[in-house]
């Protein structure tokens, strides 16, 4: 049926139209195919694709995170795009900080052997007796989460790991997310990024 109609179409054009450029069958099929493809693409987009957000970003849920340390090693970037964040509001300003000192530290000073952080990224400053402020130098931090583990197990849990978006290249598939044992990494829309409670 279809073929017949195409043939008649072809003949008609040859009779009435410009004999130099007849609409041949191949051209006709091409145009038909093009419109078919256009409508499939359009319909598919409208029906299946849920355009919920313009942009999404990778985020760690601190409540699920178990500070296993894979963020430091599994990220496609070196050093990782995951860094430690300090929520000062939740900090107890302890003199003996579980996130700053090694559990077996012999002396409580700023010596490297007493510190938990392998890169010395945490800066400890005295405020008033017996309180100390802990600041994280994000340029030094590699996201290993040792301090986060320390703070979570003996402290308020004011330190947490998070994907830094000015560093993250926004891979289509986050390699840390596929390796995360707690499945704590997910895509969120930009307006939901960075859980600010913690």
């Amino acid at each position: 049926m279809k073929k017949q109609s195409e043939d008649s179409n072809e003949k008609k054009t040859e009779v009435t139209g410009n004999p130099q450029i007849p609409v041949n069958r191949r051209e006709f099929l091409k145009t038909a195919g093009r419109f078919l493809a256009l409508s499939v693409l359009g319909a598919g987009l409208l029906k299946f694709v849920k355009l919920k957000s313009p942009v999404t970003v990778w985020q760690i849920d601190p409540r699920k995170c178990i500070h296993c340390g894979r963020c430091a090693t599994e990220c496609v970037l070196n050093p990782s795009a995951v860094r430690c964040v300090h929520a000062y509001e939740a900090c107890g300003y302890c003199k003996l900080c579980g996130g700053y000192y090694r559990p077996n530290a012999s002396q409580l000073n700023t010596a490297a052997e007493s510190q938990l952080c392998p890169t010395g990224a945490i800066k400890r400053t005295f405020i008033e007796d017996p309180y100390f402020k802990y600041q994280i130098d994000e340029d030094l931090c590699n996201g290993c989460g040792k301090c986060v583990k320390g703070c979570a197990s003996f402290g308020n849990g004011s330190l947490y790991l998070q994907v830094r978006h000015h560093i993250c290249v926004g891979c289509n598939e986050c390699r840390i997310a596929t390796r995360c044992p707690a499945q704590a990494i997910s895509l969120v829309t930009t307006d939901q990024a960075y859980w600010k409670e913690s």
């Binding site: 093009r34 355009l51 496609v76 939740a90 107890g92 402020k133 891979c171 289509n172 044992p181 829309t189």
Partner: protein
């Protein structure tokens, strides 16, 4: 509520200890013992800990004010729209250089710019090839596709419906990096390239299957050049990427031709494209100069030679292929069904469950982090079990469909081979031509280039050579 109480008890104990021991290291020793026992309490009281701190925020005498938490920077949405705008502009420029200006230089310059922007500046993400998976995932699961990914998937396809594969010519960063290393492209035997050309269909099918069942984005995982764009990747990725580039010096664009799943889609859409690359701006004079110009073997020779084969024989062969067509589909589906267990074993949920089961049976420490992270108990195991079962079921259906698809591709390929098309001139096959524009300068009818007298001579020599060859034929 019992958790909150235990939390308070813990805090009081600590405060007491703090008063009792002036010496902090002694306190620490006690604390480490305390930590051992309190670990379970803390683990259970995670939600309570959010509400109430173990060590309340001190009241500072010195008027100290705590700094704002650094929540970091979120890139403005505008930047993502800039990416789309750059893509659109690059596609328009590519279409202009390929079809209107017919300028290889313009195409080359655009290639370098695209490689710099989409490759080295954007570090290879977002790319249209990977966007196949985002679109699939959003069609089959609750995944919310970002608008940028959807547009990156759609725009090159739309352009190829009208202008052929201009995206491949100079916009795609993966194509661009291979384009720059082409030194001396050799022709591949027709049969070899036909067999290798089957791989992209398998890759596309598997990528869609994995994205649809939530098993991950394999195109991104096995992207060979992303490590080069980021200047750092696992060893396997770098070896794969560099070896493809080394092969790419003599076999032009190996990824584009024998791996790229997006190329399958672009090849299909450009079959019905309105305008495609024409080697000659006017009527072809069959001078044969362009015959070896194409690095990707897309130039089809005119079928001027008389057919030696009897018509009845070729019709008979076509009949056989038409009859075999449903058999290919059936064989493909069956193979897919056979292989489905192999594929579903790669699903992360299934893998996780297997790992945990193995861990329980042997008592090894593998997957111990997963056990801790997911707080494994019978309930979680039951959920994982149902997830893994549904993943396996979906994979089975998907593999049968994938097999049927591959059977269809085989069948169509064979039927197309046995249909003879009459061609009167040298033309570029729209589905495999990547619009690189190399053939333009080989065509003597193309606008004569402004060249020095010395080069002019060589041009004339080449023309003379062409006419000699014609006489020989």
């Amino acid at each position: 509520m019992i958790f909150l109480n235990s939390e308070q008890v813990l805090r009081k104990t600590e405060l007491l200890l703090r008063k009792f021991f002036g010496n902090e290291s002694a306190l620490q020793a006690v604390a480490s013992i305390l930590r051992k026992y309190s670990f379970f309490l803390i683990l259970l009281s995670v939600t309570a800990a959010d509400a109430q701190s173990r060590f309340p925020r001190p009241e500072f005498q010195s008027g100290y004010e705590s700094p704002e938490t650094n929540f970091g920077i979120i890139r403005s949405v505008v930047y993502y729209y800039i990416d789309v705008a750059v893509l659109l502009a690059a596609l328009c420029a590519a279409a202009y250089f390929v079809l209107k200006k017919r300028s290889r230089k313009g195409i080359f310059a655009l290639t370098v710019l695209s490689l710099a922007y989409f490759g080295f500046y954007k570090k290879g993400c977002v790319c249209s090839i990977g966007a196949i998976q985002n679109v699939t995932a959003s069609a089959f699961s609750g995944y919310a596709i970002p608008l940028t990914s959807a547009l990156f998937f759609l725009l090159p396809l739309l352009f190829s419906l009208f202008f052929g594969r201009v995206y491949c010519s100079s916009v795609c960063p993966l194509g661009a990096v291979q384009e720059l290393v082409i030194l001396k492209p050799k022709r591949l035997p027709r049969r070899l390239s036909a067999v290798l050309g089957f791989i992209p269909h398998i890759y596309l099918g598997l990528a869609v299957l994995f994205a649809a069942t939530g098993a991950g984005f394999i195109i991104c995982r096995f992207d060979p050049f992303v490590g080069i764009f980021r200047l750092g990747a696992p060893l396997g990725m770098i070896i794969f990427g560099t070896s493809l580039l080394v092969i790419g010096t003599v076999v032009a664009r190996p990824y584009c031709r024998f791996l790229c799943p997006y190329g399958v889609l672009l090849g299909l859409t450009s079959l019905v494209s309105k305008w495609t690359v024409r080697i000659s701006p006017g009527a072809c004079i069959n001078c044969r100069l362009c015959e070896n110009a194409c690095p990707v073997d897309a130039i089809q020779l005119p079928s001027t030679e008389p057919v030696r084969e009897q018509r009845s024989r070729s019709v008979g062969r076509l009949k056989v292929f038409l009859i075999l067509f449903p058999l290919w589909i059936a064989a493909g589906s069956f193979t897919g069904w056979l292989l489905s267990d192999l594929v579903s074993a790669r699903h992360p949920q299934v893998k996780l469950l297997r790992g945990i089961e193995a861990n329980e049976n042997s008592g090894s420490s593998a997957q111990s982090l997963e056990r801790e992270g997911l707080r494994i108990n019978d309930e979680v195991i039951a959920i994982l079990n149902s997830q893994a079962a549904s993943a396996q079921k979906k994979t089975k259906t998907g593999m049968i469909l994938l097999g049927a698809y591959l059977g269809t591709v085989t069948g169509i390929y064979l039927i197309r081979q046995s249909i003879r098309k009459k061609r009167i001139e040298y033309s570029a096959d729209p589905s495999s031509c990547i619009s690189c524009g190399r053939c333009y300068k080989y065509c003597p009818k193309n606008k004569p280039p402004r060249v020095s007298p010395k080069q002019q001579l060589s041009q004339e020599e080449r023309l003379a050579l062409g006419s000699q060859q014609r006489q020989v034929i």
